[in-house]
């Protein structure tokens, strides 16, 4: 995979060939990544993919077996955490329970031996920034989860570090708080302009917040790109499957370099796919990209499908479709209610669907994905 990002200017953070092994498990396997100044990059992946380990290596809380880390042009690979320049926020908040919110935020400033008035002013400023100007005298246990996490964020930003590390900061929070806080964090990050690494296993969080997403799996980087790139052009089936929902169908390259065959269907692609004729492939298409209803009439790439199941989800229908010749595979289509307003949608009926060529993606055959 293309794990090294090309960036014209000098990156603020450069991670080069980092490998870390725990006993017989390779947690991080030769990972390289460049992060630009002021960028918010999320490390996204399933649990155990090495994203948190990588973050802890950047912080110096774990020692890599191999590889280097450069921050702002300086090699920090061998520096203990205290000599590095970063702020960190954990899932557990890790607020000091015996110190008030104010003292927690001031903790790092006090270590810098700043004057009392300066500390006061800075803490006040931060508390305003996180929208909690009045909770300074409270202890962490007296604050809600969302408030605690904002205090933790303020504490991490207090000393104006060059790098902000967020280790699943929203995962312990209620769904509602999570949604509002992720926007707040993103705004705050832009306002402060701090380069940020954000670890999460929540794809929605990553899509909403990231300037760029790094998808990790089994210690390796699968793809790096903007949220749109990752979603629209997943580099491989893992990314396609992990981000959003994806239909996978077994297919075979046709003699015509722009066509593939899938069961009884003969589908056209937008561009030549480059696979040798007759090689087994996996065809991927997102549920929302499939088309049904009157607009399909007269288009290419059409097929007849059996409507097995209908779920009504308010603004759209989720249809489960069976395709003749693909008895084991199901096709899921999501269609806005506006698209089928005048069409009858009943379980058991036959309907026409269309595979728009521009939304089809082809990968080498993946037996575990296409049934």
């Amino acid at each position: 995979m293309n794990s090294e990002q090309k960036s014209p200017e000098n990156p603020y953070l450069r991670i080069a060939h980092i490998t870390k092994t725990f006993k017989d498990l390779t947690a991080v396997n030769d990972v390289s990544l460049d992060v630009r100044k002021g960028e918010l990059v999320t490390l996204l992946g399933p649990s155990g993919c090495g994203k948190t380990t990588l973050l802890r290596i950047v912080a110096g809380l774990e020692v890599q077996d191999e590889g280097e880390i450069h921050q702002n042009g300086v090699d920090i690979s061998r520096l203990p955490p205290r000599q590095r320049d970063f702020g960190i926020v954990f899932q557990s908040y890790a607020l000091f329970p015996n110190l008030t919110a104010f003292r927690n935020i001031a903790y790092g400033l006090e270590n810098r031996k700043l004057h009392r008035d300066k500390i006061h002013a800075r803490v006040r400023e931060l508390m305003g920034l996180i929208g909690l100007p009045d909770v300074g005298g409270k202890y962490p246990a007296q604050l809600s989860g969302g408030q605690q996490q904002r205090i933790a964020l303020a504490r991490a930003l207090a000393t104006s570090p060059g790098l902000l590390l967020l280790d699943e900061p929203l995962s312990a929070l209620d769904a509602r708080v999570r949604v509002s806080l992720r926007i707040e964090i993103k705004d705050l990050q832009r306002q402060v302009g701090v380069t940020t690494l954000f670890v999460t296993h929540d794809q929605e969080e990553a899509l909403v917040m990231a300037d760029r997403i790094v998808v990790m799996n089994k210690g390796r980087i699968e793809q790096v790109g903007t949220p749109e790139e990752i979603y629209r052009q997943p580099a491989n089936p893992f990314v396609a499957d992990f981000i959003g929902v994806m239909n996978f169908l077994p297919a075979r390259a046709a003699d015509d370099p722009r066509r593939v065959s899938c069961a009884s269907m003969d589908l056209e692609c937008a561009e030549p796919h480059g696979y040798p004729p007759r090689s087994p492939l996996t065809l991927a298409v997102r549920p929302e990209d499939l088309r049904v209803g009157p607009e399909v009439q007269g288009q290419g790439n059409r097929a007849s499908a059996h409507l097995q199941h209908v779920e009504f989800l308010g603004s759209f229908y989720r249809l489960t479709l069976g395709i003749p010749g693909l008895e084991k595979a199901h096709l899921v289509a999501e269609v806005p209610i506006t698209a089928v307003r005048d069409t009858d949608v009943r379980e058991g009926m036959e309907m026409e669907i269309q595979f728009p060529p521009e939304f089809l993606r082809l990968y080498p055959h993946q037996p575990e994905l296409s049934a």
């Binding site: 293309n2 090309k6 020692v63 203990p80 590095r84 702020g87 015996n98 790092g108 270590n111 246990a141």
Partner: protein, 584 residues
């Protein structure tokens, strides 16, 4: 699909040259050095005051009187002479019997406290813990006053139970171990999940069946733990067998007689090693059981609180609890009455004379208050240094990164003291420190060595308390501190200690109370002229002055109660100041 050539070229030029395969290590700053030095100090301390003395004792057991190596000859001699090896059998016998009795009584009592609605549970609990405040030989003294040939119960009932010997020892050991077993069992019983009982009830399970299928299996590891504790206490106790054992020799008294009576240090070392074997065995079993028990307790349980029982069950439980509590109170009462009586049982005139300690020896050294003060000093030092040693060790072992081999070895060394009987430790200290060739010989005959011996003897339980307290702290506190440029000792001082302060205080309390009553850990190390109170109790009893021994015990109990009260106040004050964060 291949990548276009140009791309490869660009990314190559950005590559950081790959270094040869060589493990990356962080630079060790001043802090890293400090951490390492402290960990090394912990290691050195444990080697000096635990491993080395035991090693010396082991070596001594393989020598004859002239110091030549004789292999296992001493052991063969011990086991092949029926007159001596009887102490091994006796020890096992009284330990097993008293373990069974202790666990049964403690289980009923714990059940009553945690699961039934019988009245006065708070008082019952307080009374049950009383035996922890007196040296183990004092209850034996009280038993003599009660059940001895001239005991008041003997006279009252006209039945002599034959106290001197195994009966007396077993009674004393049960009395001694009861509160320890009770604490373990009532903790476990309080942790049972009420939803199991609700499920059983919904399936129309009889309460008897629920008891056998839910209650007992739920506390099986705690029952084992309680049994191990009771067994170890009985096996290694010295005070009670000394006072009430008569001709019935057990290992602990055997060691004492060999060393103090016959100056036969080699055989003393041999018997010590023999005593060490079952103690270590039980210790290993207990560690295995403990590990399983931890897995059994999940965090989100709904505790099964007290529930009313059938009238008959309730009555039986009440009767047995009141009997046990009453017995404890009578023993205490006997000590009090004995301390204020001129000459039990012939002259029952109340007197304060016993508190003058006017026998040769005690008086010459300044009287009771000086001896008591020695004890308080010793216990204070033990509490102070012991708490620091325990908490710092636990912190360094739990909250350091890397050095995992060194840390797990240190952990092991920190839990081992539990397996070493006090007599063995005391004797091993003679071998190690009463040796002019050892630079630490200067410690010999000082209060400080008494303290160190006591600290090492009681090291494990506070260590595990500290580990538990530290494990409850977010492991990321240290990471946060480092990210905010705070040296680890600052986070330790500003966060770790304040948050763990209640645990720290209870550790200090544990050291203090045990140092006040311990006998076995110091009986070989005392310095003439600097006796501590628990030792004075033994010496007074040796001199036939039971009444004065009781008076001295009473003073020990008073100090214990006072310390306990102060501890309570201190904890409350501390909680108000440093634990304010707990209040929502």
């Amino acid at each position: 699909m291949t990548l276009p050539e140009a791309n490869v070229g660009v990314s190559h030029s950005l590559r950081v040259a790959r270094r040869p395969r060589q493990r990356v290590k962080h630079r060790v700053g001043l802090e890293g050095i400090l951490r390492r030095v402290l960990l090394a100090l912990v290691g050195v301390g444990l080697m000096l005051f635990l491993v080395y003395p035991l090693y010396r004792a082991l070596v001594r057991s393989l020598q004859d009187r002239s110091g030549t190596f004789v292999g296992l000859e001493n052991y063969i001699e011990y086991f092949s002479t029926p007159a001596t090896s009887i102490s091994f059998q006796n020890s096992l016998y009284i330990s097993v019997v008293s373990t069974v009795i202790t666990v049964v009584l403690a289980f009923i009592y714990a059940y009553a406290l945690t699961r039934t609605t019988i009245a006065g549970r708070g008082i019952l609990r307080a009374v049950a813990l009383l035996p922890m405040f007196i040296p183990s030989l004092v209850q034996a003294l009280a038993f003599i006053y009660m059940f001895g040939n001239n005991g008041f119960i003997t006279r009252l009932l006209g039945v002599n139970i034959g106290l001197y010997g195994k009966v007396g020892i077993i009674m004393s050991e049960v009395f001694y171990a009861f509160p320890h077993a009770l604490i373990i069992l009532s903790t476990a019983l309080a942790l049972a999940d009420s939803r199991l009982y609700e499920a059983a009830e919904s399936l129309r399970t009889s309460s008897r069946r629920a008891f056998w299928t839910i209650t007992l299996p739920g506390v099986r590891y705690a029952l084992l733990s309680a049994a191990f504790v009771a067994f170890t206490l009985a096996l290694t106790d010295f005070g009670a067998p000394k006072v009430v054992g008569g001709d019935y020799a057990v290992l602990a008294t055997d060691i004492y007689t060999r060393v103090m009576g016959q100056q036969d240090f080699e055989m003393g070392a041999t018997i010590s090693t023999i005593l060490l074997v079952p103690a270590v065995l039980v210790f290993v079993l207990d560690r295995i059981v403990q590990r399983r028990q931890v897995a059994l307790v999940t965090s989100n349980i709904v505790p099964q609180g007290p529930k009313p029982h059938g009238r008959l069950v309730q009555m039986l439980i009440t009767v047995s609890c009141v009997a046990v509590a009453g017995f404890i109170l009578v023993v205490y009462g006997t000590v009090i009455v004995g301390a204020f009586t001129r000459f039990w049982p012939y002259n029952l005139e109340p007197t304060l004379r016993n508190f003058t300690f006017d026998i040769v020896g005690v008086q010459r050294r300044g009287g009771a208050l000086v001896i008591l003060w020695n004890s308080v000093q010793m216990a204070g030092m033990t509490a102070l240094f012991g708490t620091i040693a325990v908490f710092v060790s636990a912190y360094l072992i739990e909250k350091s990164r890397g050095m995992s081999t060194a840390r797990s070895i240190l952990y092991l060394l920190c839990v081992v003291p539990l397996a070493v009987p006090g007599m063995v430790k005391g004797l091993s200290y003679i071998f190690a420190f009463n040796d002019p060739a050892n630079p630490l010989y200067i410690l010999y005959g000082t209060m400080l060595l008494l303290s160190i011996s006591t600290i090492m003897h009681y090291f494990t339980v506070p260590f595990l308390t500290a580990m538990t307290a530290l494990k409850q702290l977010d492991p990321e506190f240290e990471s946060i501190g480092e990210s905010l440029d705070a040296p680890f000792y600052r986070t330790f001082w500003r966060v770790t200690i304040p948050v763990a302060l209640p645990s720290i205080l209870s550790i200090a309390m544990y050291f203090f109370l045990n140092a006040m009553v311990t006998l076995s850990a110091i009986v070989f190390l005392f310095v003439p002229g600097k006796e501590v109170a628990s030792l004075a109790v033994m010496l007074l009893d040796d001199a036939g002055e039971s009444a004065q021994a009781m008076a001295m015990s009473l003073l020990i109990v008073l100090v214990g109660f006072t310390a306990r009260g102060l501890f309570h106040l201190a904890t409350r004050g501390v909680e108000r100041r440093t634990q304010a964060w707990k209040v929502r």
